[in-house]
């Protein structure tokens, strides 16, 4: 027997001005299943709530409808009140007679009639509601951080410092990311290595951090609070538990001709190598493609030199499973290689700039290496072609950014700043040199940022030309840069010794595959999508997965670090509870009825439905069925709509409930 209470709110005059609440109460008292119906001036106020609780008790209500404002406003309030009185909160419904009625319809008769309909629908629904209890899922208080750039490092350290274990997976042989290769950093021009290296060492030594370098995330299973992650530790051929980092091996290695990834091909490294001296872990790795022992079975010098016996040519990839409760993605970015070969047909490359054709046309990360004290030239700026000190350098902004025709339509956000930085670093190294910058707009929003750019122009004499460059050619060892100064309204031709392209920042390779494993959305360029750009900037739509750093969009170091700490904060909020509770309004499947067509499996946006088998005690297969994983289901209801056999059901919005609502209008 339904014993439903209907509580109609006046909201002062907000509702009562256009809805005849008393008349409404009279009408609603006679609805089927309604036990009592009353009105009050402010239902959400304390006396209002007390009134409700009193009625629940007196009338032994087993359902109630509050006709007042939007459920987004006060559904929680009234559910709490009901719960306090022992009435299951999911037996409470609301009829929105304020936002959807009294505020938008001013004809009292019509508004009252509509309000009556709205209440009738709510009553029809609540009669078919079920008592539900929040789903509790256990929680593993360990976090996985993917990517060990400055963002990943910051997030890992914050979480580890809060006392939780962290698994950090980095695919390169060392953590550090792009920042480890930068020279000096805007806006303060402090040395990148000096500020990053101590943080890297901290990661390496932190008792709460388990570091996997040269490793990839292979598979992710499970759901928020309970992920099971498979990590592929690629064969390193060096047992880092034995290795002391003495360096005897790489000094001995005869194969020293491989272009160094860390120096973007401008320096060379041996087949066994550490990417850079401050690497963490400071342990070498053998490049299986370059080592002649591994390719042809000839050499083995390093093993002979290694006193620790750390070299193992038989090393194999290893798969490791780690259980974690939360995941932070910090896979960072790459600079777009605008050369001839492009990964997708839509991207045409920039033949006009001759990148890849002319040796002295380089990108900005290469420039960072050329002015870095630890770089291939030892910090002396020498151009790649002939080692000469360039006396005229042209920096070109927005290469591939803000280009709808053949690049990315977005602004890469950081290049205006590092262009200014580069002109300064250049001037500090080559006093009689002249730096030119071609730009469209200078984007230097940030604390002390515009001042920094002005300094490059006013103190260090950088010549800024407003306009794009059209073509670069090479003539007698000079690069002929044909640009324009649109402020003067004239073409400008500069004979340069070195050209530096600020190419577009793009997400790291492979991020889409990773995102698919994690169920995280990404935009057309592959940048990961946050839940809400303003209010949930580090959360994703996959519960328990967070993002930070340049994998979410172009960012400089301060922003990457801030976001990393924010993500770490969110993880800690999650870990501050013992278990996770989730709304019980999720889907379930009637396994007896399910026709095992698996339409729902394909339709579910969260991959929350799995294929299952029902077996008898003897283990014989009785039937196949779809089954919802309550940890993953977000309650969107798509499965209900697509199921041809009507076996899927969504609590809170069951077929019965929704049909009853529609029918009540008839």
């Amino acid at each position: 027997m339904a014993r439903i209470g209907v509580f109609i709110c006046w909201c002062g005059e907000n509702i009562s001005r256009h809805v005849d609440v008393e008349k409404l109460a009279e009408q609603c008292a006679h609805l089927p299943g309604v036990r009592c119906c009353l009105t009050y001036k402010y239902m959400c106020s304390e006396p209002g709530q007390n009134l409700i609780r009193e009625k629940i008790r007196e009338e032994r209500l087993n359902g109630m409808v509050v006709a007042s404002c939007s459920p987004h406003m006060h559904l929680k309030t009234f559910r709490k009140a009901a719960e306090a009185e022992g009435l299951n909160p999911y037996l409470v419904e609301m009829a929105n007679i304020r936002e959807h009625c009294s505020w938008v319809h001013h004809d009292v008769k019509a508004a009252t009639a509509k309000a009556a309909d709205l209440i009738r629908m709510a009553v029809a629904k609540v009669r078919r509601n079920h008592a539900l209890s929040p789903i509790r899922v256990p929680l593993t208080k360990r976090a996985l951080v993917i990517g060990g750039g400055v963002a990943g490092i910051q997030a890992a350290l914050d979480i580890a410092d809060a006392g939780h274990e962290v698994v950090l997976v980095e695919r390169e042989p060392s953590i550090g990311g792009k920042m480890a290769g930068l020279s000096e950093t805007f806006p303060t021009l402090d040395c990148s290595q000096c500020i990053l290296t101590p943080r890297m060492v901290e990661v390496g030594q932190h008792p709460n951090i388990r570091l996997y370098t040269y490793s990839d995330v292979e598979a992710v299973e499970g759901y928020v609070g309970n992920f099971s992650v498979t990590i592929r530790k690629r064969a390193r051929y060096v047992d880092i538990s034995k290795c002391t980092g003495c360096g005897a091996c790489w000094n001995a290695c005869p194969n020293k001709k491989t272009p160094s990834e860390f120096d973007f091909g401008m320096g060379k490294r041996s087949a066994i190598y550490v990417p850079f001296p401050q690497a963490v872990p400071a342990r070498p790795v053998i490049d299986a493609n370059a080592c002649t022992m591994l390719t042809k079975g000839k050499c083995g010098l390093c093993a002979k030199k290694c006193a620790a016996g750390a070299i193992n040519f038989k090393d194999q990839d290893e798969l490791i499973t780690e259980k974690v409760g939360a995941i932070v993605v910090a896979t960072g970015y790459k600079l777009w290689d605008i050369g001839k070969e492009q990964e997708n047909a839509k991207l045409a490359g920039y033949g006009e700039y001759g990148y890849g054709t002319y040796k002295d046309v380089i990108n900005s990360l290469q420039f960072e290496r050329l002015v870095s004290a630890s770089g291939p030239t030892g910090g002396e700026l020498r151009r790649p072609s002939d080692g000469a000190v360039p006396k005229t350098v042209v920096f070109i902004s927005c290469v591939g950014s803000r280009d709808n025709a053949k690049g990315m339509s977005y602004c890469s956000k950081i290049c205006c700043m590092y262009n200014a930085k580069h002109t300064m670093l250049y001037k500090h190294k080559v006093h009689d040199g002249q730096a030119h910058v071609f730009y469209m707009d200078i984007r230097a929003g940030g604390k002390n940022y515009d001042e920094f750019v002005r300094r490059a122009i006013e103190q260090d004499g950088a010549q800024y030309h407003r306009g794009r460059v059209s073509k670069i050619t090479e003539e007698n060892g000079k690069l002929i840069v044909r640009g324009v100064d649109t402020l003067a309204g004239e073409p400008v031709t500069i004979e340069a010794d070195l050209v530096v392209l600020a190419t577009a920042m793009r997400p790291a390779d492979g991020v889409e595959t990773l995102a698919q494993k994690l169920n995280v959305g990404y935009d057309e360029y592959g940048f990961l999508s946050e839940s809400h750009p303003k209010l949930r900037p580090v959360e994703t739509n996959a519960a328990g997965v967070f993002v930070c750093g340049a994998c979410q969009g172009p960012k400089d170091i301060p922003e990457s670090v801030a976001q990393a700490s924010a993500a770490a904060g969110k993880v800690q909020v999650m870990f501050s509870r013992e278990e996770i509770t989730r709304e019980p309004e999720i889907a379930s499947i009637d396994e007896r009825m399910c026709a095992a067509c698996f339409t729902c499996v394909r339709a579910c946006p969260y991959n929350a439905i799995e294929r299952a088998e029902i077996r008898d005690r003897a283990g014989r297969l009785i039937k196949r069925t779809a089954r919802v994983n309550p940890g993953l289901c977000m309650g969107c209801g798509t499965c209900v709509a697509v199921c041809p056999s009507k076996s899927a059901e969504l609590e809170g919005f069951t077929e019965q409930q929704v049909y009853a609502m529609v029918e009540s209008l008839g």
Binding site: S70, E99, W103, P605, C636, F653
Partner: protein, 153 residues
């Protein structure tokens, strides 16, 4: 034309269309809330049924609405790409193309079914859409023909 049939109400001008709106909880419902907060008046003919996502909308629900006497149905959710549930609304759209044909062969008047996207910020759009649909439906007259379809099929 079917809706020229005599209507039980002798005075056609008092015909008040009944419109059922299936809306998603995260965008359009909030858009309608916003219309309220901003006191944007519109005709009182619409009855909202709140669902988690347009992905939940089974097209039998549309048929059901007509069966219970609706003169028009509106389905409205988040803008593409904005779906609270990543892609629920894509499923709704894909299914819609299939159902369209089905409903069409059933003889349902397709211009009584409306699809739109209204975000949480588009209170004014909600007002406009409802006003337009009400007006249009008023001109089309009550959906008496549906009753006949039911009898035939």
């Amino acid at each position: 034309m079917t809706h020229k049939q005599p209507h039980p109400d002798p005075d056609m001008t008092t015909f008040e269309p009944k419109i059922v709106a299936y809306v998603c909880n995260w965008c359009t419902y909030l858009g309608a809330d916003l219309a309220g907060t901003n006191r944007l008046e519109y005709p009182p003919n619409v009855r909202i049924i709140r669902l988690p996502c347009t992905g939940r909308i089974d097209f039998n629900l549309i048929v059901k609405a007509f069966e219970t006497g609706a003169d028009a149905v509106l389905v409205s959710g988040c803008h593409p790409g904005d779906c609270h549930y990543t892609s629920g609304n894509y499923h709704a759209r894909r299914r819609w193309t299939l159902f369209r044909e089905l409903l069409d062969t059933l003889g349902i008047e397709m211009d009584r079914i409306h699809f739109t996207w209204i975000s949480a910020a588009e209170g004014r759009k909600w007002q406009q859409v409802i006003t337009e649909i009400t007006e249009k439906t008023r001109q089309m007259g009550p959906y008496l023909a549906y009753k006949r379809i039911c009898r035939v099929s």
